[in-house]
């Protein structure tokens, strides 16, 4: 079975996020009010073959942990759906 994993990598809480802070400061200038807690990260889309959704999730978690995210400063959120 083929699955699509979406891996969102974001900074851990407490790690300075100057990019998110800059975006947050820019938004009111465009007329967006009430914006808060903007954070910047990256998203990856990976297709993978696996026997089950659970197996696809654990593979996605492993590759996120070993390569896509730097666990020292980043954490990842994984969503898996059938392709």
């Amino acid at each position: 079975m083929r699955y699509v994993a979406r891996v969102e990598v974001r900074l851990r809480p407490g790690i300075a996020d100057p990019e998110g802070a800059t975006i947050e400061r820019a938004l009111p200038a465009l007329g967006f009010d009430g914006i808060a807690a903007v954070s910047a990260g990256r998203a990856f889309r990976v297709e993978l073959d696996a026997d089950s959704k659970g197996a696809a999730e654990s593979t996605a978690a492993a590759l996120a942990d070993r390569l896509l995210a730097n666990p020292v400063i980043e954490e990842s959120i994984i969503e898996v759906v059938e392709a």
């Binding site: 900074l11 790690i15 300075a16 100057p18 800059t22 390569l67 896509l68 730097n70 020292v72 400063i73």
Partner: protein
């Protein structure tokens, strides 16, 4: 015999010749080592120079740490060999978990290319053994992801074990605790964002990098005599 320093070249490394010139200027000999090689035999110290290893894709150092040479660099470091990562090389050593912490985007979100004033905070390393605590050095920086960060337990450990080697006098990039360079517990693996190889003669604006590279050559000479 002059000690020989291996200078690792990844695809995208661009400071290797400056490092070689700096080492040779101080009487050492240097040899370029391509990242696809798997041996550091015959080398007395290793430098991972600056640049953009593997294009800095994903994160600086994230791909480089899987290059074949890195297994040899890890073995060399674990057996007590002197390993210094400069700028991108520092990022590679952190990604390879040979040093703690990580480098992230500069506080001001700008690429910084300027002189940085540093204070020597520990001489217990292969890069600072010839300096004295309190020495002030002017060494160029040239980076976008140079803001050193780590968790507070790690920071406490680095301070308690005198592993913060260099601090910025005017923190240019938001590094935690003004950190510009650190070492591992044994002091034989060092990472720093400033470029000592660009400060080896007054012609370049500063010769303050000499004490750092000369320290490394001392460590390399000890390896020769072992």
């Amino acid at each position: 015999m002059a000690p020989t320093v291996g200078v690792v070249v990844f695809p995208g490394t661009n400071c290797e010749h400056d490092v070689v010139a700096g080492i040779e200027r101080l009487g050492g000999s240097a040899r370029l080592v391509f990242h696809a090689e798997s041996s550091l035999d015959g080398l007395d110290a290793v430098i991972l120079p600056g640049g953009f290893a593997h294009g800095d894709y994903l994160r600086p150092g994230a791909i480089a740490r899987f290059s074949p040479i890195m297994a040899a660099v890890s073995d060399f470091a674990r057996s007590g060999g002197a390993v210094v990562g400069i700028c991108n090389g520092f990022q590679v050593l952190c990604e390879a978990q040979l040093l703690p912490g990580a480098l992230q985007k500069n506080r001001g979100l700008t690429f910084l290319c300027e002189r940085a004033r540093l204070r020597v905070c520990s001489t217990r390393s292969v890069l600072t053994s010839r300096a004295s605590v309190g020495d002030e050095l002017e060494v160029p920086i040239n980076h976008f992801l140079g803001s050193y960060t780590c968790d507070l337990d790690t920071l406490r450990m680095l301070n308690d074990e005198e592993r913060v080697l260099l601090r910025y006098l005017d923190n240019p990039n938001g590094s935690i605790d003004d950190i510009a360079g650190i070492s591992n517990a044994e002091g034989n693996v060092v990472g720093l964002m400033p470029h000592p190889e660009r400060a080896v003669t007054e012609l370049l604006g500063s010769s303050d990098g000499v004490v750092l590279l000369a320290s490394l050559l001392d460590a390399a000479s000890l390896a020769v005599s072992r």
